[in-house]
Amino acid sequence: MPARNHKQWMAAPNLKDGEWIDSRVYTDQAIFDEELEKIFKSAWIPVCHESELPKAYDFRTTSIANEPVIVCRGPDNEVRAFLNVCPHRGMLIERRPSGSFYEGQPSGNPKRMTCMFHAWQFDMKGNCVYISREKEGYQDRLPKENVGLRRLRCEVKFGGFVWVNLNDNPVDLEEWAGKPFECLRKTLDAEPMEVFHYHKAIVNTNYKLWHDTNCEFYHDFMHYHNRVTGFNDAYFARKNESFEHGHIVVGTFEVNYDQYEGFESRAGLSFPHLPPNQWYMIDLFPGMNFNLRGSALRCDVVTPLGPDKVMIEFRGLGLKRDTPEERQTRINHHNSIWGPFGRNLHEDLIGVQGQGTTMRPGSESRRVLHGRQENQTIHDENGMRHYYAEWGKWMNRLPSDPEAPFTEPAAVAAE
């Protein structure tokens, strides 16, 4: 067919329900605001790894759906999460990205979270333990016991990641992600891991477009590295397996790293219970990715900032017991592909930013195709179809017509 006129361009493609979506899901401010409320405030988010707060009184700050969050380790070694908001007048309690409450702060005592503004203090369980000039100001009308922090659901699970949920009554975390993690559970839980890499990217694109890239491998044509190290029969036979709650897992195969000039085989270093040079990918709704490439584990977490803006945090992990040489090897293997100066990540980010350029708030709605059917193998787009079916349920919107209520597409139901 030659290039199309506007009517032809805007026509629904000759594909089944669920095999294409409307780009308004990526561009509409109202849909974005609704996503924060309906999805991100009820989903489990792996906000950090336990190795980022190894000692009692260590903390890490983050945010979910515009709400500031603090995670801290108590003297009982429990990791807990709270809104990082003082119940007095809404000041951010802790401003640093990480640190320790073991030492005192200018406004407060050791072993306390202290709001610097008026010196209210909280213990590691979120109890308010000190209100400055409490009796003088509140007499007996507002006791400390009534102004604790807002506690959040928090669990350390699946390889030591710290999972937080803003919803007080979420789906149980094991029920949420246990099945997709099954392929790597024995490996990730064999022994303590440690984060060795962190950086963040803010790119002008919708968070789902980033997750789409993690959910489909058809884009490996973009990566010279992946084409030369991976395109073989075993690669094309890999399955994209769908799990409840919108998650997917891509099975393993053996990667031939030494086919890329300058790279060596990665067979010498792996993870417990895992043969060398394997590659697993777990994608969790609504935008988390765990990617194990032989000797290094990568975790991406999205923080949506607007319909056309997302922050992605990238972490790399190895084993806590690594020797210095092993650790350096894992770092090199991780960053040569996935680091900010690595071969693949730069290409991935250019790709999704290019999509973001064509799909900005105010752009005309258009059709985005998710219709490749290849027996649910690596270049099938069933992962995205599965994701958007879940998205439709949470939002009660039809991805192909977001103003209409959700109905289960027959094609997706069959998968």
């Binding site: 640093r96 990217a201 002008n204 300058g262 100066f341």
Partner: protein
């Protein structure tokens, strides 16, 4: 991070003829600035010609988020050679980078055969094709801020890099880059 510990300063007893020391320091500065120009103009192989066979290259940054001294890229001269040769096969943001380098200190060893230097750099990115070229091309953005910690050996009156650590202050790196910094 104790940046002074980044490179082991050559041991000095003050025994070196001051004029030789000055010559070595001048050669070191010349190599650093020449490297800046070659990197800016993407003359990668000519940049590598300024590097000894033993050259190692690192991009590092201290992360207060995870309390870890990170290595974003580690490569030998051979690795850098392969990386450069394969650049045309990769999809890349072609927005040119220009580096503004200021050499702060040069320390010359007792025998005048080696030296180390600390320089500050800022890298600007001049947008071309990485975002929406209709809107953004022609805009210049601050891309990276950091310090170079370099070591050298003198060969035939030239200072050749034996190592370079580009230590970044910024860790929000957005799309990153395929290119040496």
């Amino acid at each position: 991070m104790d940046t002074q510990a980044e490179i082991a300063a050559p041991k000095m007893s003050g025994g070196l003829d001051p004029s030789i020391s000055r010559d070595v320091a001048d050669a070191v500065r010349d190599t650093i600035y020449r490297a800046t120009i070659l990197l800016d103009s993407q003359e990668w192989n000519e940049w590598l010609d300024l590097c000894d066979e033993s050259f190692s290259y690192d991009i590092k940054s201290w992360s207060p988020e995870i309390n870890y001294d990170m290595t974003y890229l580690h490569a030998s001269r051979k690795d850098m050679d392969a990386l450069i040769r394969l650049l045309p096969k990769h999809n890349t943001d072609h927005s040119p980078l220009t580096r503004h380098t200021s050499v702060y200190t040069v320390d010359v060893s007792d025998n005048g055969e080696t030296a180390s230097a600390v320089s500050a750099f800022i890298v600007f990115q001049h947008l071309l094709d990485g975002t929406n070229s209709h809107i953004d091309s022609g805009e210049s953005r601050l891309f990276l801020v950091g310090k170079y910690f370099d070591t050298f050996k003198m060969v035939g009156g030239r200072a050749l890099f034996t190592s370079r650590i580009a230590r970044l202050e910024n860790r929000r790196l957005d799309k990153g880059s395929h290119w040496p910094i």
